[in-house]
């Protein structure tokens, strides 16, 4: 699949935005500026960007506790995201949600849930809504290898297939559920083999290659849009940092240094950048400029977050009910 230069540059930019955003978060967290837990997405950027680049603004996503990447890839505003992580009133959720709970209905981010697997059946409902309202909107539901072992996965997948719903399930298999290797949680090497049991299409893709993810998810989204039902896309990927910031030695307790080094050599951002330069889609100087712009954008987001007001204690009960 040949993508035009502007699309490739945007994908590169969005991957870099995720990376720089999270690197800065780690720094701010170490300085004590982030009040909550961080589950960083560093290393997995090709999945979020490859998948979300296939969507329209009015399409939907659901996400997880490790959701910064998905939200940025879907068009999330860095200022509002950073402010949310700082616990400020100007954040996407007015400081009520934090890192694990960002939602932005105006750009189709139906929400991030910190309960593994919970959004799998919710995404089916989003697809049902599109179908009943007779729009052609598609929902991508991101979740991990860990979530694939929940009962919610089973019920959600079965319902989405049974009702032929316009949902693309993007399974980010990063090989570990916190410390437990995927091979200790399932006998299957490809978790997506389970799709056959639901009568659902499946694909396996290199999750370190944004273009491969884009190609496979594009096809799944197109089918969903045409009314051909859901697909389970398993992306083989890896998180370069620990389960959360503070995971000792980035997880070297349960995975080897050698394994971590080998995956880091497959850095998805470097890979896309090198490919673009090699194929004359972009000059290195252009990529460097994108990096500089991204750094400024992050700087601006942090300044915005720091200057923003905190929620007021007397408003602790607001937003509970609509009526």
């Amino acid at each position: 699949m040949e993508l035009e230069k502007q699309k490739l540059l945007l994908m590169y930019r969005n991957m870099l935005r995720i990376r720089r955003f999270e690197e800065r978060l780690a720094e701010e967290s170490a300085r004590g500026n982030i009040p909550g837990l961080l589950h960083l997405y560093v290393g997995e950027e090709a999945v979020a960007v490859g998948a979300c680049s296939t969507l329209r603004k009015d399409d939907y996503i659901t996400s997880t506790h490790r959701g910064h990447g998905h939200c940025i890839a879907k068009g999330g505003d860095l200022r509002k995201m950073m402010a949310e992580l700082f616990g400020k009133e100007t954040g996407y959720c007015k400081g009520r949600g934090g890192s694990m709970h960002i939602a932005a209905p105006d750009i189709g981010i139906v929400g991030c849930s910190a309960i593994a697997g919970a959004n799998i059946p919710i995404a089916a409902g989003v697809g049902l809504s599109s179908k009943l309202r007779k729009t052609d909107q598609v929902c991508i539901s991101f979740f991990g290898d860990g979530a694939s072992n929940t009962g919610a996965f089973h019920e959600g997948m079965n319902l989405a297939a049974l009702w032929n719903l316009p949902v693309v399930y993007v399974l980010e298999n990063n090989l570990y559920a916190i410390s437990t290797p995927a091979v200790r949680s399932s006998k299957l090497r490809n978790i997506s083999d389970r799709a056959a049991g639901y009568g659902m299409r499946a694909a396996v893709v290199d999750g370190m290659d944004a273009l491969s993810v884009y190609e496979v998810v594009s096809d799944a989204v197109a089918r969903a849009r045409k009314g051909e039902g859901p697909t389970l896309v398993e992306c083989k990927t890896y998180r370069f940092r620990g389960h959360h910031e503070g995971d000792p030695k980035k997880g070297e307790i349960y995975r080897t240094k050698q394994e971590m080094d080998e995956w880091e050599k497959r850095d998805p951002i470097i890979r896309l950048g090198e490919k673009m330069v090699k194929e004359h889609k972009a000059a290195q100087a252009e990529l460097n400029a994108i990096n500089q712009e991204t750094m400024r954008e992050i700087e601006d987001a942090v300044a915005f977050a720091k200057q923003s007001p905190s929620p007021k204690p007397e408003d602790a009960s607001t937003y509970l009910f609509a009526s």
Binding site: Y60, T62, G91, Y92, C93, K94, G95, R96, G97, H101, A103, A104, P105, V110, G111, S113, I115, A118, N119, I120, P121, I122, A123, A124, G125, V126, G127, L128, S129, S130, L132, R133, C139, G151, A152, E155, G156, N158, L159, L162, T318, Y319, L320, F321, A322, S323
Partner: protein
Amino acid sequence: MSETRELDFAEAIREAIRQEMLRDKTLILMGEDVGKFGGIFGCTKGLQAEFGEERIRDTPISETAILGASIGAALTGMHCIAELEFMDFIGCPMDQIFNQMAKIRYMFGGSMNVPVVLRAPAGSRYPVACGAAQHSQSLEAWFMHVPGLKVVTPSMPYDAKGLLINAIRCGDPVLFVEHKLLYYAKRMASLRGPYPTLIQKVPEESYVIPFGKADIKRPGEDITVVATMMMVHKALRVAEELAKKGISMEVIDPRTLVPLDKQTIVESVKKTGKVVVASEDAKTAGVGAEIAAMIMEEAFDYLDAPVKRVSGLDVPIPYAPILESTVVPQERHIREAVLEVLGQKE
């Protein structure tokens, strides 16, 4: 002119759903056996024939998916009624209820509403049928403890219709608890006899009963009995009997546990100085505990006697009728509690 007919609880529920389906094209209902079968208690009878399979949706036995799909659809432009066959099954989709549905609006800073009504048939069916440990429970107190849910517990057909219509329209997640014994009134003369309030005149036109407004089902002067669902009917029968002994019992039905109409209860306590709280759930940390504690905080100075709870024993619901009627509070338990608080003997 509006038609007023006599409906039982199930008919009132069905009429509310039907009228809202006609009014709101985004409203759908899903659950197990809700289609041709009409729901195991008949509350959706005829609705699939009228509104089609897309809007009245039969599901697999997948309570997590029923709730999840309802939530997802509700977040993106639909209104949903999710039906559980028995409230006892509510543990299966529990995460969707207390972590997702209840929290979404707040944790997302009010950016989205979750218009889902979860209908849950609860309670003991003694003496109609013995459901035993996993088809008889009253679990509404669990959900009073979850911020973000509204908990509605109607006792009568008129209330059921108006409260269900409000639940559908209010834009928030609502747990709508339906006591199963209330469904059987038209089918069983043996229930209609002692509890004539199970069947009521219900206006044909649509109407809304707001949440957080208790209803004084019987005014009285000597003692307040706050009762929920089937216990309202039992309390009314006790009130009728005790009236013959010159005791004037006020029966208050909160109708919604969240939000709770504290004011009506407190005003009654100021008048009577004595309270019994009657609910069918297990006693410990139950509905009665919450209402009693609220009365302590809000009306302690007006109490002439300690608040007394009438509730289920802290054991699973047993199968044998003689055990079930011991564990589940009956009229005799209300009567004994009222007389005790009044300091009177039989």
